[in-house]
Amino acid sequence: MAPTRSAAPPRVDRGARRPAPPGAGPAPRSGRGVDRADVQGIVGSGYGRLPEALFLGLRVDDCAAGRAFLAGLLRLVTSMAADHGTRALNVALSHCGLAQLELPQAALDQFSLEFAGGMTTPTRSAFLGDEGEHAPSTWAWGGPTNPRVDVLLLLYAASDPELRAHTEAVRRLVPADGVEEVVTLPTTTLAQRDHLGFADGISQPSVAGLHGEGADGDVALGEFLLGYPNAYGTRTGRPLLPVAADPGQLLFPAPDAETPSVDLGRNGTYLVARTFALDVTAFWDHAHHWAARTGLPAEQVAAKMVGRWPSGTSLTVSPDRDDRAHPVDNAFRYHRDGDALGLGCPIAAHARRANPRDSLDPRPGSEASVQVNDRHRLLRRGRQYDVLPCDQDAGNGTEADAGRGLHFLCVNANLSRQFEFVQHTWLNNPAFAGLQDSPDPIAGAHAPDSGVFPLPADPVRHRLLDLPRFMRVRGGGYFFLPGVRALRYIASGPSADREVPR
């Protein structure tokens, strides 16, 4: 969730970049590796050095105004290559937003079905567990009763005054007519611990070509960026356009197309946004209640549900106590390191289900198991919040908690195999890894006060019964996070022969 340790800026090759504004000039016709000037910075890092953030949702009612707005934003957009100032801005677009900007239908149709349908279609809500008081109709933003969000802006800054100035500069670009800010999502200053009191965002996949030179064990680049080979060695489907649709040669050629095409998806990816209100008091009440019943310390019960100690230390590495002196370990594996039964980290724990490492078939404990696991990874980029201004219905949490929560953001190239799979098959699934009636204790969808949390112990396990729901879904959406050139292309319209204002 919120990036902490792992959010350090990645190594960036700054030397070879031309000084031109990002995405200007014809796209290179060939070239290996990632063009970091074309990838939006949020893919490479969570901007850990910029502790302040604000997310804005805008509705586009007029295509020309929308394009002019995007064109104006371009010079502020932060690419991976330019991820070093005191401000950052990234731009994501919903499928509706792309349609409002009059991207050709042929291009709209080639996006993934999940993105095109959106997060709030009834079958998708059922699949993700967004039902009952989590249903989109109850959301504070992104639901059918809320204003449509066509453009999602992610603003980051080094300090609060800096963020205010940054926001001011962005808002000045919003045209008087045709584009309207409809959602404002402030965040809390980036902290070491999340609202529950746990270090978070520790386990992030290391991506070949993004964070390193493709070390052994890295996840394929195509899992997080469109246009590159994914974990199966193929390129995930994305909008490819005939060369004639790109007279300005803004876009990269598509190597895998049957006819000469340019790649609107290249260096882009999908951004999942989910807002979760968090009932911190209910979480700790539950931990204390079961601490009294089991005789374990409350902190340990809570840690067992989370899957790590508050400091971030792994329960598999240090089963009995939070070892603050211990460096936070992210190289461990559950089966290989002797925790197959979950006596250290329970199988049902949140962190273990969100990333089971070597826990699942084929052959738990093997490299093959890790390889299959790595086809379901997410780059998490979320931030926490104290207040959700658009929320008229924050009454679920206890008084002290009203409004606290997490803006979960994650980046992935295949919504179905990555984000949706993790949410449905690992977190929500009460039968995950052979369990019975055990959804994820923190992030799983289940009826309130139903579901059990088995806490393995020798010789007889504990079971925490009547699991409440500590998280309530308050908003969300699927967005396309285009490459910088693709953003320029979208801003300039399909007949990209017009001069784009800089």
């Binding site: 079905l113 079958t123 019975q436």
Partner: protein
Amino acid sequence: MPEQSAVTVLAPLPAGHHDRAATALADLAGPDRMILPFDRLAGLHFARLMLLDDAVSPSGTRVGASLLYTADLDGSADAHLQALADVSGPGLDRAFSCCTDYPTRPDTASRTAWLRAHRVPEAAFYVNTVGRGVSQVRAEARLRKGLEAYLDEHRDGLIDLPPAEIHAVLRRHALTDPDLRIGVVPARRPPLWWRARELVHLLAVPAVLLPLLPVILLALPFVAVALLIHELRDVPGRQRPDPATVERLRASEDHVAHNPFAAVGFLKPGPFRAALTRTVLFAISYAVRHVLNRGSLAGVKTIHFARWVYLSPDRMIFLSTYDGSLESYMDDFIDKVAWGLNAIFSNGLGYPRTILLLWRGARDEEQFKNHLRTHQALSHVWWSAYEDLTALNVGANAAIRRGLARRTLSDDEARDWLALL
């Protein structure tokens, strides 16, 4: 008799009756569910009714729509059809009355006869664990629940005992509870005659094939070359599934622990593919009967039952009941048994390109997933005898019973056994 059988009833639908049948099935899945009381049929694991849309074969002939009833059950298929006709006459009438030869004044005997007359054979039938009947599955689920509840209640008094003693306490508790008593005796093994028959089949097939081995080996290089030529000429489908169709399929998925899956398609034309398909199905049939019959279909442990059926000599349907979402099912296929899928499904029209039958194919993730979704058929009416249980759950519950049924365990054995709870 605890051995599992398959029933497949295929009834052609006269032209013009498609919509009427669709309405009937929608009613039977919804408001009229009660007139198809599958829960009254002992030994029935899963049942479904589906309407197969009409299609045009690669040679251009039109194939009409048809109705399909399938069931996975314990015991004999004939007895099941009789019982089905017995308890769900109105339901059968509702579903099948648009079929031309359906009895005009149906009674149990004529319905049974009609169902039997429309049975078609399965080319291969996979059972997750042969011999485990519905009543056993349910009893073992109750057993687990009972033992878990006992441990919740009495944990404090047990943890200082040696593991073997905890096992003994649980065994004594099970004996006092009529609901759990079944757990102290092992599940019944299949009868001797049945095991003998399986053994004979296990040995007879290789014995018959052995003399042919030199011929097979000599022919193999020629078959491989012919196969490569065919594969080069194959045209993989590039079609993406229609969003509205996917939405309709999704609406019927992921309501309980498992899902019904069905995929229909034409075989690639020509005698070579026809013969290859028959050969592969024969091999699958042998493998699932004797080797892959203990909880895992070549590494995939989420399938309860599966079958392949010829709808006509050039058109097949694959049906299965699997745990979790279709996405996870397809990922399992690709990650764990892509070669096996390729071997059979690459004989179907439009399948992603394979190399020598086993390679590539399903590994072309996106094309494979698009291929499955575009060939998927809706299971209009579907019923499960144990909605909340995955195949792994069923297997774990059986292991709990196996342990409890042993009079004594060593401490080490008991510790491993207690970890199941």
